[in-house]
Amino acid sequence: MKVALFIPCYIDAFFPEVGIATLELLERLGCEVDYPLDQTCCGQPMANSGCHDDARGTEALFAQNFAGYDHIVTPSGSCAHHVRDQMTAIEQTPAVQAVRRNTRELVEFLHDVLGVREFPWAEFPHKVGLHIGCATLRGLREAKASEIVEPAFNKPRMLLSAVKGIEFVQPQRVDECCGFGGTFSVFEEPVSAKMGHDKVEDHHQAGAEYIVSPDMSCVMHQQGCARRAGLPLKFIHIAQVLNGARE
């Protein structure tokens, strides 16, 4: 299966190991992966700030880079959510609509499209707190949100359950937002940092060694809080764990 890989700007700049793990994992599962070299960002930072005029050029570039692919995969839930549900600053040509429709977050792609349930090479013998970002949870609906009355489901957890040795621990507030929120993290710094510190403390109290997440932007924020607070928590992207990282 041919797949185009979208590595969001902040992963490109700060977490290349997440991009590498995503690429290797997709290849291991038999995908032929293209990485369009002119890619930058999906336009979310500008659009979420209300600046749709400023998002237009970036969205157009995204659509241009990924035109013609049946599957566009990204290891970031909020970016996939933006592309699929909110990328409306540009004209909605059939090509743009196809790009939007074909964009998936990595877990969705593995779970829904490839239907993978086994990761025999993966082993992660640690106590893990799972963090699903809010766009991934309620935008992409990868898991049941705690406030909705419906049968339980959790795609990231289902995939991780196939990893040898993994043990899940649950924070008190299982899906409370961690307070990253894009530019919210800077323009509403007091509340954002308070939420982040509360979040990592909750995971720490639950006994987590690692926070595993499909959302690296939340992780960047939580990691910043945990390091400042001197908590012994470690952070890792779900792609790395599924690709066989041991720590």
């Binding site: 700007c9 490109d12 700060f14 977490f15 290349p16 070299l37 949100a145 710094e189």
Partner: protein
């Protein structure tokens, strides 16, 4: 009118750590109780859809239902008044009081009268007003607006209440026992019910087919206020209409479960006609609602039944307190309603959100709150109400991210640079990220650099 600075106000709120942590925990407890109640009802999500559909039907036929209500209420013996805006509302209420020679008014909880700033208006005209809901009374005595639409004094600890009461109604300042405080307030307020010539309530629902209205409370104060004095005035927003009594079952089942996680309010009072020898007046208030009804993206906000579930679940509201929103309506519902009153003044509020969407999921009438927040941001940017620094940051980001060349130069510099800068340069006062968080460590190369090196492709 100056802009509300939510970030600045939240910073002060968080500084008082004991208060902030209590506030967050107390409201999270309400959210958890709400979850237990809703989970116990397999038909919960179906009820939400039904409630939403009933409200959307009513709002799209509002003029007809309002006229039906007026006709039936009048036939029941009520006097119905129409108020175009807050000013008209206050004048109508004052006129009714004046006509009856009423100088003392006992009043139960009503967000609408706060929205209309009725209290100062009447007080300036010599009317004594006593709030009878405990939380509202605390806030009145402290000369502070309510911070939550259901639990108005939730931001105060018992010590704060003891301080307010000792200063205003003469309790023992050292006694912070909640029973003592509640009982003292009760004894202080009771005589006013007998003294008052008029009682005032809001309404949770008004029923068109019966011309009656419903008030849901937990303290019994609204019923004393409505039934002891010879005059009852009810202020009702025009969006409170429901077509039939049978629809009430849907909403009454959800209101208190959503609000406090209790199956039903202690008291659900139906008011249909004045008692013999007394008068009952209803003031139907528009105050911007008709205009909101005409807003394609925002009219759904009129479905709100003021349960406060969105506030209780909102992680930002819980950690910044209702007063930080600088408006009668705070939390997620406030964020989408307030800009309809004054876009400039409340232009920071739609940014006081992580867009996490939990508000939308708990809303018993399925208002798409977080989508409306997103939409307001676009409108605020279009109307040039963004702070200059954000506007400029987005202009530059948009330019860089639209150009592969500029983008690569920027990220490669960032990746290479961070670790070589001295700590005091990275963690300066202008770096809001770094005040309470570490910045990520810089990797050896960007993903793209790695890819080009390891998988070939052009440089």
């Amino acid at each position: 009118m100056s802009r509300v600075d939510h970030a600045e106000a939240s910073s002060k709120f968080i500084e008082a750590k004991d208060h902030a942590d209590f506030h967050d925990k107390r409201l999270w407890d309400l959210r958890k109780k709400r979850d237990s109640e809703s989970e116990a009802m397999p038909e919960w999500e179906q009820l939400r859809s039904l409630a939403s559909a009933i409200k959307e039907h009513t709002l799209t036929h509002l003029a007809d239902y309002l006229e039906e209500f007026e006709k039936n209420a009048t036939a029941n013996g009520m006097v119905v008044h129409w108020a175009r805006d807050a000013g008209e509302h206050n004048q109508i209420v004052h006129g009714i009081l004046e006509q009856h020679g009423a100088t003392t008014l006992v009043k139960s909880k009503s967000m609408l009268t706060d929205e209309c700033e009725m209290r100062p208006f009447l007080e300036n005209r010599g009317i004594e007003i006593v709030e009878t809901d405990l939380g509202e009374r605390i806030q009145q005595l402290d000369d502070e607006p309510p911070s939550h639409i259901v639990v108005p004094a939730v931001h105060k600890l018992r010590g704060d209440v003891a301080e307010v009461f000792s200063r205003t109604i003469g309790t023992d300042a050292g006694n912070t026992d909640v029973h003592y405080l509640a009982e003292s307030q009760r004894r202080h307020t009771r005589p006013y019910y007998l003294k008052a010539q008029a009682g005032m309530t809001g309404a949770n629902f008004a029923i068109a087919e019966t011309g009656s209205f419903v008030v849901c409370t937990n303290e019994g104060n609204a019923d004393l206020g409505a039934n002891l004095p010879p005059l009852h005035i009810a202020s009702i927003g025009i969006e409170k209409l429901l077509p039939k009594v049978e629809h009430l079952g849907v909403f009454v089942r959800m209101l208190s479960r959503s609000a406090l996680g209790s199956p039903i309010t202690q008291i659900t009072s139906h008011f249909r006609a004045p008692r013999p020898g007394t008068e009952m007046h209803v003031v139907l208030v528009d105050n911007g609602r008709s205009e909101r009804l005409g807003m394609e993206d925002f009219w759904y906000s009129l479905k709100c039944i003021r349960c406060g579930a969105c506030m209780n679940t909102c992680p930002v509201y819980r950690r910044s307190g209702g007063l930080s929103y600088g408006s009668t309506y705070s939390g997620p519902i406030g964020v989408i309603i307030d800009p309809t009153f004054n876009l400039r003044k409340y232009s920071s509020l739609p940014f006081a959100s992580t867009l996490n969407g939990s508000c939308t999921s708990v809303c018993p009438v399925k208002i798409n709150i977080h989508e409306q927040i997103y939409k307001w941001r676009e409108i605020i940017a279009k109307r040039h109400q963004l702070p200059m620094v954000k506007k400029e940051a987005m202009r530059v980001a948009g330019k860089v991210l639209a150009s592969p060349k500029l983008y690569r130069a920027a990220v490669e510099a960032a990746a290479a640079g961070l670790d070589h800068l001295p700590r005091f340069v990275v963690y300066n006062p202008f770096n809001a990220w770094g005040r309470q968080r570490e910045v990520p460590s810089a990797p050896a190369s960007t993903f793209r650099q790695w890819y080009v090196r390891n998988r070939g492709g052009e440089r």
